[in-house]
Symmetry: C2
Subunit: 246 residues, 2 copies
């Protein structure tokens, strides 16, 4: 058995868990699980291949960072047909900002799978985003471009990317809805409850009622996001009313 396979088989009781956990995060089955192992290998683990060369996620992070940028570029190209290249570049930087990627990595709880020698509490925030990028790199090598695009559409663009908000045109739909209710002297209520179901991540559901009528529902990985999503739906449903009231 080579040294690499020894590393990857050193916790046989955990291997099945790792495979299942990663499959849940990806939404599809890995072909070569050892590439994903590498995506979670922190340099402090000090792992080496059979020739003594360092083995950690940093090379995969380099690859994933580039692929993520490309798929976001294509999304923006198609989504914002009137944006010039300056606008597209600016929006892409916002989407792939360190802060944004760290949030993503945290929501996916990637740190659970990180193998390191230093305590996870000593990692800075960037570990979350770095491992997320390494995971994209691993998908690229393991399953190719199309699976990367699918993963990024489902895990990044769908749940996190809102052009309106990124442009700063709308900071919070919730505040717009509340402002409107107050002006109109209407009662509003955000009814939030946990609703994880079969998902990998904890999820919250929210029902937004105005004057005791449920007018929007949403579900997301945090209370704040669920409320914001429901508010956005309510906002568009009420848009005509809101516009007329101004």
């Amino acid at each position: 058995m080579s040294f690499i396979s020894k590393i990857f088989n050193s916790h046989p009781e955990k291997d099945g868990d790792f495979f299942l956990g990663i499959t849940h995060i990806l939404g599809f089955k890995p072909k070569n699980i050892s590439i994903y192992r590498k995506a979670f290998l922190h340099r402090s683990a000090n792992k080496k291949d059979k020739d003594g060369n360092p083995l950690n996620y940093e090379r995969l992070e380099f690859l994933g960072d580039s692929m993520l940028g490309t798929i976001i570029s294509k999304y923006l190209y198609n989504e914002v047909p009137l944006g010039d290249e300056g606008y597209l570049t600016k929006m892409r930087s916002k989407i792939v900002s360190r802060e944004h990627l760290n949030e993503l990595g945290k929501d996916l709880e990637l740190i659970k799978y990180v193998e390191s020698r230093i305590s996870k509490s000593h990692f800075g925030d960037n570990i979350h985003g770095n491992v997320f990028e390494a995971l994209v790199g691993a998908i690229y090598l393991d399953r190719g471009y199309q699976y990367c695009e699918k993963f990024i559409n489902e895990r990044v663009i769908g749940p996190y990317v809102d052009i309106e908000q990124l442009e700063g045109r709308v900071i919070s739909y919730k505040s717009l809805v509340i402002e409107w209710c107050q002006k109109q002297k209407k009662q509003f209520n955000y009814n939030v409850y946990e609703d994880t179901g079969n998902d990998t991540l904890k999820h919250f559901a929210v029902k937004l009622s105005i004057d005791n009528n449920v007018i929007a529902k949403a579900r997301a990985t945090s209370k704040k996001k669920a409320e914001e999503a429901a508010s956005k739906r309510a906002f568009f449903a009420l848009q005509d009313k809101i516009k007329k009231s101004k």
Copy 2:
């Protein structure tokens, strides 16, 4: 007929030429030729879509730049298994440098197809690299990732990327070969002749003889490149002899 199709059909006598020329450059047939038209549309042409929005290659350049970086990243990841992410980043910057892309765009004679209002002699050197990136963006939209990878492998990596040279370990194989011949008191001769055949681009072939024995042949888009390629082959063929003579 829409305004866009009017633009793209404004030179009917040239449309067939454009399609053939692009097919030659790509090495495969475009599906949607109008995307490639856009890749050659300079902002000075002042073209607009039917809603009056500017139409030029700059958005495609944004997309192609990103895709090119990703494919080069994957190439480097696989080709240099021991390079850390700092090394990979540095090598990628060298490969996709403005200077390098301009050389590429010039060799492909992309400027022939550029549509502009200002005279082509007034363009700076960057037009060549910019249009090359836009062309990669057009391939990405028209035919997807795999055709981009094929195109970049065939048109960039194969003919232009030499890790040894990029690392500065070897500046010129020709000078190594000449140095060796001089020390060994051997006659050398580079016999260069044009050999374009059915290629899109002008090609040169070279036969390198040492003491009247042909020891390497090569073919490339310039005399200098062909000589360098033949020298590299000769260098590896002679490597043992050269090492022993030092």
